[in-house]
């Protein structure tokens, strides 16, 4: 059974065709990592899943709900989809505890005591129970991102979307966030992850999807995509990402997406 089912998804901004016919499914408990060059439409794809972007055409199903149906209760669907952003997007005027409880209380209508209990549980899960009283500005980037994960988990989501969760972090803080995500994957959470952390994708992903120019170029188990890529575009991309110091001067002109 799949949790996400995307078929023939198109998305354009004005004249720019960003997604050009995406078919992708994510099964329950699967961890799918999306990789690809900048501007290939990875974020847009993720944002179409919970309708932060309105697709131009095509369908997206989450569980048994078609989110692209104009009559679907989008707030109800979003409640079951956790999302973690590159820029954390914690609520700056609220403490860590309030960040994690506000949607539980206002959306799920949990009591204060219940929301606090679940908040603490999830903050423990990301190793930040002692920061409940702090404000986001008092935390490091890595800590903020872990709070953002706890905030999403407190809503008991069926699946989690991650959009480059470690790209805004100093290198020494990347590990703590990836560790939390690895833990989630091990617990069987369904995850769709856009990432530039190839080591993470190789180790944790059940499947790796390579996108370029608004289409899925290639997908498969990490061992295959990384170890034995079939498509030239995948090879070029991996070469540039995995061995950036060995990119020769003659390659610079050739742009990846045609």
């Amino acid at each position: 059974m799949s949790t996400i089912e995307i078929s023939n998804l198109h998305k354009s901004f004005a004249k720019l065709d960003v997604l050009r016919g995406i078919d992708l499914s994510v099964g329950t408990g699967e961890v799918v990592c999306v990789i690809g060059p900048s501007g290939s439409g990875k974020s847009t794809l993720l944002r179409c899943v919970n309708l932060l972007e309105q697709p131009t055409s095509g369908t997206v199903r989450v569980g048994d709900v078609e989110v692209t149906d104009p009559d679907c209760d989008i707030d109800g669907v979003r409640r079951r989809i956790g999302m973690v952003f590159q820029q954390f997007n914690l609520f700056g005027h609220l403490t860590v505890r309030e960040n994690v409880t506000i949607a539980q209380r206002r959306v799920l209508k949990r009591s204060r005591a219940e929301a606090d209990r679940i908040a603490l549980l999830n903050l423990e899960r990301v190793g930040l129970a002692d920061k409940a009283g702090s404000y986001p500005a008092q935390l490091s980037g890595g800590q903020q991102q872990r709070v953002a994960i706890a905030r999403a988990l407190a809503m008991d989501p069926q699946l989690m979307l991650f959009d480059e969760p470690t790209s805004a972090l100093d290198p020494e803080l990347v590990g703590e966030v990836l560790a939390v995500m690895r833990g989630l994957a091990a617990e069987g959470m369904t995850m769709l992850v856009v990432t530039h952390e190839m080591a993470f994708a190789r180790e944790v992903a059940s499947r790796v999807v390579f996108m370029d120019g608004g289409v899925v170029v290639e997908q498969g188990p990490p061992a295959e995509v990384f170890g034995n890529p079939r498509e030239d575009r995948t090879k070029t991309f991996l070469h540039r990402v995995l061995e950036p110091t060995s990119v020769s001067e003659s390659e610079i002109g050739a742009h990846l997406s045609e």
Binding site: L52, M83, F85, Q87, N89, H93, R106, V107
Partner: protein, 264 residues
């Protein structure tokens, strides 16, 4: 001695100070201090204005300011939300309102409220008498300014905040109330405090509505005293009382702006 860059700077600055001091001295020497203090600083005249200057005039000035501010803030918030709404007629209305009342003198609007509204609705009265008319007359204009300030504050909240809130399943309205507006108001507190200062001064226009001895505010109070005592000392007293309100508010603005700059 060679003229280095530092020496030249020092020389230019000293020359500036000397000229400045000479001008001040010349003005001070030319003024007739005896007559001036006789006119503007007569203690007996000043004393005769109290306690009414504070218990009535200052009190009413503060009261008018707060009422107009409260009304302007509420209406300004509604207008700001309409301006940002996805409903086209709302946007039109808000834009028209803001452009209109930013472009009209506050005095003219006060006149219209004071004389136009009773003519237009002869069977009704603005509730609260003069207090109601002042609240409307000054608040209508203040709302136009505050709407623009609040709109800018809302737009200054990063887009990701709304996205994060919506992603957690909050409706647009809920996200506005719990996430966006609290942060927007933190941003606009300094400019809104400035708006209170401007409103405080605009209450001096209220006399055109015809005020009584109980609804009188500072400027009219001083003007009346000027007439009866045939001495301008009351103007100085009223000026000082205005400063009692506006100077601390100015300090608050500066403090809030400094704090906001530090948090960024």
């Amino acid at each position: 001695m060679k003229l280095t860059r530092r020496r030249r700077q020092r020389l230019a600055r000293s020359a500036g100070y000397v000229v400045f001091a000479l001008v001040i001295l010349a003005v001070v020497a030319a003024a007739d201090w005896g007559t001036l203090s006789e006119a503007f600083f007569r203690l007996d005249v000043a004393r005769s204005m109290f306690p009414e200057a504070i218990t009535v005039a200052l009190r009413n000035t503060v009261f008018y300011t707060l009422m107009a501010f409260a009304f302007g803030l509420a209406l300004g918030l509604v207008l700001a939300l309409m301006r940002l709404s996805s409903v086209l007629p709302y946007r039109w209305f808000a834009t028209a309102y803001i452009e209109l009342f930013r472009g009209l003198p506050a005095l003219l609007v006060l006149f219209m409220v004071g004389y136009g509204v009773p003519l237009a609705f002869p069977d009704r009265e603005i509730p609260g008498g003069v207090y109601g008319s002042v609240t409307l007359g000054l608040g209508i204009t203040a709302a136009a300014y505050m709407a623009e300030t609040i709109r800018a504050g809302i737009q200054a909240v990063p887009k990701g905040q709304l996205e994060a809130a919506r992603t957690l399943g909050m409706s647009h309205t809920r996200a506005m109330i719990s996430i966006i507006l609290p942060q927007a108001f933190r941003i606009v507190i300094p400019p809104l405090t400035n708006e209170i200062i401007l409103l405080t001064k605009d209450t001096s226009l209220v006399y055109v509505l015809g005020v009584t001895s109980t609804t009188i505010e500072l400027t009219k109070f001083a003007g009346d005293a000027l007439n009866t005592r045939v001495n301008p000392t009351p103007l100085v007293v009223a000026g000082l009382l205005y400063l009692v309100i506006t100077l601390p508010l100015g300090q608050v603005v500066r403090y809030l702006e400094r704090r906001a700059a530090r948090e960024r």
